[in-house]
């Protein structure tokens, strides 16, 4: 009983199936041609194959692997953006997804309007946004630009605003997908600090990164994916080392 209570994310035997992008059928003519030739169902691609793992409350997991190995797919699966084709995903807690900072910003709207819109996208209420508005603006350090349409922002500025909005809550699960690569060093520092703070407060973290150093710093566990399957999972240090070794072998 106790172990079940501690488990906050449980992915069992999850498989995600995509239709191959190159064979995407999005008009009727093509659909019928393919239907007649009976080619319709055959172009599929498994982005994740039988992935199982369990995350306990308060743990920090790093997701590592080469490009296209299924890291982002796994995050999207946990966020509920994707549904598993087979297997189950159970999440017991609130999630703050930072898959892309400022997803859902509308370029025509001003920053103030976007803060409310983005907050709404993340599922916060109006009262909550009202009371945290100043905190967001302070953290993003963009006080003088609040009435400017976001389309005139630089990508770094937009990312700062996005991070400030997404981390204003103390979610039970924080999901971060390589978003910290944007922004200057000072801001990255600030983001890391805030993530450490949240971890100390008992937040569970899922973190995708290609920088082993950051993974080692932030995470106590890691899972290594390759072509949709789990190669290794467990304590961060050995998994990171094994992954680095495999990279240097394939380099030679």
């Amino acid at each position: 009983m106790n172990s079940e209570k501690d488990c906050i994310i449980k992915v069992s035997d999850a498989t995600v199936r995509f239709n191959m992008a190159s064979e995407k059928i999005d008009n009727l003519k093509e659909y019928f041609v393919k239907l007649v030739r009976r080619e319709l169902m055959f172009q599929e691609f498994l982005a994740l194959k039988n992935v199982s793992f369990e995350v306990k409350r308060g743990e920090a997991w790093g997701l590592i692997g080469t490009n296209g190995s299924g890291k982002s797919t796994l995050l999207k699966l946990i966020c509920g953006i994707l549904k598993p084709y087979k297997g189950t995903v159970d999440v017991y807690g609130s999630i703050a997804p930072l898959i892309e900072l400022g997803a859902g910003f509308d370029g025509e709207l001003t920053a103030t309007e976007n803060i409310y819109l983005n907050g709404a996208v993340l599922g916060y209420s109006k009262e909550f946004m009202d009371s945290h508005y100043d905190e967001i603006v302070d953290f993003a350090e963009l006080k003088d630009f609040m009435n400017m349409p976001i389309k005139n922002y630089s990508s770094g500025m937009a990312a700062r605003l996005g991070f400030a909005i997404a981390t204003i809550v103390r979610p039970e699960i924080l999901i971060v997908d390589e978003v910290l690569a944007v922004g200057d060093a000072a801001f990255q520092e600030k983001c890391q600090e805030r993530m450490h703070e949240m971890l100390a407060g008992g937040t569970t973290l899922l973190f995708v990164s290609h920088t082993m150093q950051t993974v080692r710093q932030l995470c106590d566990h890691a899972i290594w994916l390759n072509k949709g399957t789990v190669v290794m999972k467990g304590e961060a240090e050995p998994v990171c080392n094994a992954y680095m070794d495999s990279l240097s072998v394939s380099d030679k």
Binding site: N19, C79, I81, I95, P97, I99, G104, E113, L117, G123
Partner: protein, 262 residues
Amino acid sequence: MNLFLKRLGGFYKYRFLMEQLVTKDIKLKYRRSFLGYLWSILNPLMIMVILVIVFSNMFRSDVTNFPVYLIIGQTLFNFMNESTTQAISSITGNASLLKKTYVPKYVFTVSKVTSSFVNTLFAMGALVVVFVVCRVTPNIYYLMIPVILLQEYVFCLGLGMLLAQGSVFFRDIQYIYNALLTAWMYLTPLFYPIALLPDALRDIVVTFNPMYFFITEFRQIVLECRMPDPYLIMAGTISAILAIVIGTWAFLKTQDKFILYI
């Protein structure tokens, strides 16, 4: 039942998002234009004046109070036209957002139809102007007008959901639908009296065209100062319920696959 309650709870949780999306659409529609929201009233008025000039020589003798007749049809049809055209791209247009964060997908479709509805309420200002100019006096049956608007809103919502989910899988639908809208417009008695249609065609329109139900209900209230025909009220309600049931069913059935196609 449990699932239904859960969905209703989700709807409640995301009401702020709905509100934000609707205000965004309305704010952005006229941002940077000099007259702003006034255009919601001016635009239908201008189109009506042009149509009155064009058609006054052709049908005026058959229709009493032609400007009023025309603007009622025009306002209601425009709402359907605008809301469904917006709804059709509501899922594909928000692809970047749907790929990156979890939001109930129907929120986008519902908010598009709702912002068109709010816009139509503004456009009712044009209706009032025409009523005053043409000396139409209000009567007790005006209390039925919100019911007609609700019927049409629910109908558009259903149709919008059906189209939005369809166009995710086949983008062609939006072009086909554009052509169908033109046909639909000419098969709805907007600027001609229904009696002008040949018998066979008229029977089809009277039986199967929901826009005919809504518009005729409205016209009977305003122009004939009476309760709309029970047949029309029934037909309007049934078409609204049918549309929302079919639309919601199709949408819920396919929504998990959207992500693979957007």
